[in-house]
């Protein structure tokens, strides 16, 4: 620690990373919680089907469930791996 650290009020620390990681994981978990009970299993089944054809990782499939006033929306987003040129 140098002389000038005394005057330094804020330092870039790991708390910022902690907050960002928490916001992402908690947002995901809340979606699962608010959706139907079959959602986690549905996600696993979808992953399995897609893996028969394409090699994907868990974070390439995003299943979102949103409650609307008249109907609920199940949104499925799959990012396919880069094509080989």
């Amino acid at each position: 620690m140098g002389w000038f650290s005394y005057f330094k009020q804020e330092k870039a620390g790991s708390a910022k990373v902690a907050k960002e990681r928490l916001q992402i994981v908690i947002a995901h978990e809340r979606l699962d919680r608010n959706g139907p009970e079959y959602l986690p299993q549905l996600r696993r089944d979808i992953m399995e089907v897609i893996r028969k054809y394409v090699a994907i990782t868990d974070d390439q499939v995003n299943v979102q469930y949103e409650k609307g006033s008249d109907f609920d929306v199940l949104e499925l987003n799959i990012a396919l791996p880069d094509r080989e040129h």
């Binding site: 804020e10 620390g13 908690i26």
Partner: protein, 268 residues
């Protein structure tokens, strides 16, 4: 009715029992007849923190199984009036707690004229934790400024909103966030989640911030709840928390790094 308050967190070791002991002592100090119940069946510890471990004869499970009356099992606190401790059993039978059994004990405590029933939840989201929160009117969610604790608190909040008696009646359990082991110096240097960060993530009304303090270990060593140590920062912060819970407006303290005087800077 008696007001039933669960002290819960999901994660272990964040200060549930320390908080239950301080909270119930603080309520009793203000004249409210208070019972504090240890729901951690198999891992009894509230008795040690309250300093009544040598006076345990009967326990919560004995009362539920009709092996003892509530009056036989309740231990009168030796520090303050109006406070009674109902210890957990050391049996490993995790099915000992049932909604009917717990409900009957709550009703009997109400009949005995208790104003507050504080339920000290075990860690985790298993039966004991579920039973501790089941009849709650209020929940004090104890959270450390640390990722796993914040995440687990969010899980517990989800359970409070879906698995409690109130939730099943279409009502809500009042939620209060209590941040413990807070270190303003580490927050300032950016290495610890700040109170604002945690509030933004969990979105639950804040009821208190307890600073990291040596007095908490001293209190548990001696079996006297830390709120009795009126000179300590943690004791004062717990006292503020109790006053806020009872409806007073009390500004938050111990959130900033203590400003050192010239001599302290020189000599530490």
């Amino acid at each position: 009715m008696s007001r039933i308050v669960v002290v819960t967190s999901g994660k272990g070791g964040v200060g549930k029992t320390t908080t239950s002991a301080a909270f119930s002592t603080g309520l009793a100090m203000r004249g409210y007849k208070t019972a504090v119940i240890d729901f951690d069946v198999g891992l009894r510890n509230l008795d040690l923190i309250m300093g009544c471990e040598r006076r345990v004869v009967y326990d919560f499970v004995n009362v539920i199984n009709n092996e003892a009356t509530l009056n036989q099992a309740l231990i009168r606190d030796k520090h303050v009036e109006n406070l009674y401790v109902l210890p957990a059993s050391q049996t490993r039978d995790k099915d000992a707690l049932t909604p009917e059994g717990v409900g009957r004990v709550m009703d009997e405590l109400h009949e005995l004229g208790f104003d507050f029933i504080v339920c000290d939840s075990p860690a985790g989201i298993e039966r004991g934790a579920h039973m501790a929160m089941y009849y709650a009117d209020d929940a004090v969610v104890v959270t450390n400024p640390e990722v796993s604790s914040v995440r687990d608190s969010d899980r517990i909040l989800g359970l409070l909103q879906s698995k409690t008696h109130r939730a099943k009646q279409g009502e809500t359990v009042r939620e209060h966030l209590l941040i413990t082991r807070y270190s303003p110096a580490r927050v300032q240097s950016g290495e610890m989640l700040s109170m604002e960060d945690i509030l933004e993530i969990l979105a639950v009304p804040l009821i208190g911030v307890i600073p990291e303090s040596q007095s908490v270990l001293q209190a548990s060593n001696s079996g006297a709840p830390v709120i009795l140590d009126k000179a300590s920062d943690a004791g004062q912060a717990y006292d503020d928390f109790v006053r806020r819970f009872l409806g007073e407006t009390v500004p938050h303290r111990f959130l900033e790094v203590e400003k050192k005087g010239f001599f302290k800077k020189l000599f530490g």
